[in-house]
Amino acid sequence: MSTFEERKAGFLAIELDGAGYENLATAVLAAESAGFHAATFKDTPEAGRTNALQRAAFAGPVTRTIAVVPEVDTVYTEPFHVSTQLASLDYVSGGRAGWIATAAESREAAAAVGRSFVQGEALAQEAAASIEVSRRLWDSWEDDAVIRDVATGRYIDVDKLHYADFETPADFAGPAYSVKGPSIIPRPLQGQLPVLAAASLVGEGLVPADAVDAVLVSAPTPELLAAEIRDARARLGASVAIVAELDVVLDSRGQAAELRALTSQESGPARFVGSAADLTELLDSLLQEADGVRLHTAVLDVELEELSRLVLPELRRRGALRPPIQDGTFRDVLGLAPAENRYSTTAAATVAAEK
């Protein structure tokens, strides 16, 4: 028996929004070589911001290990398109795609597409419906549906394609809709892309916990994060991974972090302002509680340089980080088992044979 507890290793994600699109390849490669497990791409409606999913797609072929995880809205988008786009992202990234499902509470977003403004509980309903559509469509082709059987002339086995037949539930607040399927693209390489959402969107009466693989947990200050993480864990159960959100401003190039943290912060994730050594300690303790931490940098290349030089190597030395997996999937990073297919005829046939 070991005399010490095995140390829990977590993963680190970095929000690459600051890279824009012109320096995207450089930034995502720097994040990958620094040892980040995932890069995320914001899709908030700010001037100059290109589509997050496309930035993630661009990052796919230039990298090999880092997961690429865009935000995609569920309220003012077509779930069928979202599903196809995310499945395609999984193909262009070799199985390293994930999805941060968001629910835009925005009058501007509604007006842009001529829809009614959605707020309150209806937001979670929209998110839940869109996630369910994607999950069904991703399963609507079984993994071995493309058979290329020359003898019978069949490219696909139609018995391994399934209609999604999604319908919004009876209590759906917005206009009801349905999605027929099957998907127009075969099953994603990961089977199911990992789905992440803000913890505030997930739980009883919201997006069901079993619809997501991970939640993003925020707190007003770094000191309050641990308690929030424990709360979310207790509320959502062990099957949902917890990712803590942290804003970082570091001492850099002889300039103190306090002086660099000029923008006042009214909302958003807990903010750490200080030295690389203190951040290392904070991350080390957070990774004992959470499965992962996502970092939002004040200035991407400045913080990324410090993180890469001083923080990640030390965390690795301490065994706080999961080793990156060459040619691994995002599911591997999250420690998820291979995704079973809800429509699998192979599994059904096996069950029938056992009876």
């Binding site: 290109t50 930035r55 988008t77 077509e78 992202l89 262009v92 001529g114 082709w141 069949r154």
Partner: protein, 447 residues
């Protein structure tokens, strides 16, 4: 006015159309690779770029084609979202244009225009949109809004959509901003948005369009930069050019404002004989015995599996009045009984079996260029000389190596003849196609 007189450029260019569906791409040969692996797309796009192709083109179908009520099993099927794939290809290519087929019926202008702008910026000004419309409720079953558009309204709707998109792309005050708010209220949708993105290096995405009806041609003459035409055969191409020039001038645009790139297929060899032999092999793999029967079943509306593919056409009659949309637009709306009579007579007259007959119907007879590299190059040089087309949009029959012989052997022959670019002219698609800076969209469209 000189802009009203068409001047041949003396040049042709190539685009590549990665189809991803239909019988045109063979899958039964050992050389046939994956239709979904990124490496297949990368190989095709990088080969095309090595051959100085102007554009890489992806199609879109928003519902899987069906056969007698179930997904159609016999052809290549299952393809990625066009813009997602093109954003990824932007990272591994430098010059080639990236053309996404996107539907005006099942998208919102603000969202689609934003994503196309986004692709245009990410790729450094290489994006294009191939505008298509769908009006059937069968496809609508995959979308929130369902089927809502009447067939007669499709171009009206599409044009309002395109004009709104142009206003969104042209909303910048100066190249560094800000953008103006755009408001549109139409029959089918309203848009009220201040665009987030400013103009790209090519101002806005290049517009492709493929409509062939008189309405479709007028739509293209008013709105498009390039027509993806169905008229590759020489005389037909010349006639189509004449027609489009007239329509462009009538629409108040110059004679050369709209370029023409017909769909095409190339089956090449070192000698004409080698190419002819290859063609027989390609055709036998495109339309196998099962595909031949299934093709007829689509029009007969009933199972015909008891018929011999090498025998005559079925003597029994179709059980449907009119063919449905479920196998794709090319099959839609045929008068089944009348067609069956006509086909039986035609097959009997020419002495064709089911398989031979279906091959003759489906093979892109007019759009296939078969022959030695030199013979085909001579033929294409003639198109360039008279300005019959601006280029060809090539559908390779083999993925991922289907462009290799074109780029290795045909392109150098064309370059020697001085009718094909030896370098990219610039970095944007608009520059490489030789299109003018677009006229900025002004006032709102009234629909």
């Amino acid at each position: 006015m000189t802009r009203d007189i068409f001047q041949p450029s003396g040049q042709i260019q190539f685009g590549i159309f990665f189809q991803g569906v239909n019988s045109g791409t063979i899958w039964k040969a050992p050389q046939a690779g994956s239709q979904t692996d990124f490496e297949s797309f990368r190989h095709i796009a990088q080969t095309a770029e090595r051959g100085k192709f102007a554009a890489f083109f992806l199609g879109e179908g928003l519902r899987l084609r069906e056969h007698l009520g179930r997904p159609h099993a016999l052809d290549v099927v299952g393809r990625p979202d066009a813009q997602t794939m093109l954003a990824a290809l932007a990272a591994v290519t430098k010059n080639i244009g990236l053309v996404a087929t996107q539907n005006t019926t099942y998208n919102d202008p603000a969202d689609l225009a934003h994503r196309l702008s986004s692709l245009d910026l990410i790729s450094g000004g290489r994006a294009a949109w191939n505008i298509v419309t769908t009006d059937n409720a069968w496809t609508g079953a995959n979308f929130r809004r369902g089927g809502y558009l009447d067939h007669a309204d499709r171009y009206k709707h599409a044009e309002a959509f395109v004009e709104t998109s142009k206003r969104l792309w042209d909303s910048w005050e100066t190249p560094t901003g800000p953008a103006r708010r755009v408001h549109h209220e139409g029959q089918h949708y309203t848009v009220d948005v201040t665009p987030r993105l400013l103009r790209s290096a090519q101002y806005r995405p290049v517009l492709f369009q493929a409509g062939d009806s008189p309405d479709g041609r007028d739509f293209a003459a008013r709105q498009a930069d390039v027509i993806f035409s169905a008229h590759p055969k020489f005389d037909d191409a010349v006639e189509f050019r004449r027609d489009i020039v007239a329509r462009s001038i009538a629409a108040g645009r110059g004679a050369s404002a709209v370029q023409i790139m017909p769909a095409s297929e190339f089956i090449l060899g070192a000698t004409d004989q080698e190419a002819q032999e290859k063609k027989a092999w390609v055709r036998s793999l495109q339309i196998g015995p099962q595909q031949a029967i299934a093709y007829l079943e689509q029009f007969w509306g009933r199972e015909l599996s008891s018929y011999d593919p090498d025998g005559p056409l079925p003597e029994i009659d179709p059980v449907v009045e009119e063919t449905s949309e479920t196998r794709g637009s090319g099959f839609h709306g045929a008068k089944a009984r009348q067609l069956a009579d006509q086909w039986r007579a035609e097959a009997k007259d020419k002495g064709l079996s089911i398989r031979q007959f279906v091959t003759s119907k489906t093979a892109r007879i007019d759009s296939t260029f078969t022959g030695s590299y030199t013979a085909v190059a001579d033929h294409l040089a003639e198109y360039a000389r008279v300005g019959a087309v601006d280029g060809f949009n090539i559908s390779p029959w083999l993925i991922p190596t289907g462009l290799d012989d074109i780029v290795n052997h045909l392109v150098p022959e064309l370059q020697e003849r001085g009718v094909y670019p030896t370098e990219y002219r610039g970095t944007t698609l608009r520059e490489n196609l030789g299109l003018e800076t677009p006229v900025r969209s002004g006032e709102p469209a009234h629909v």
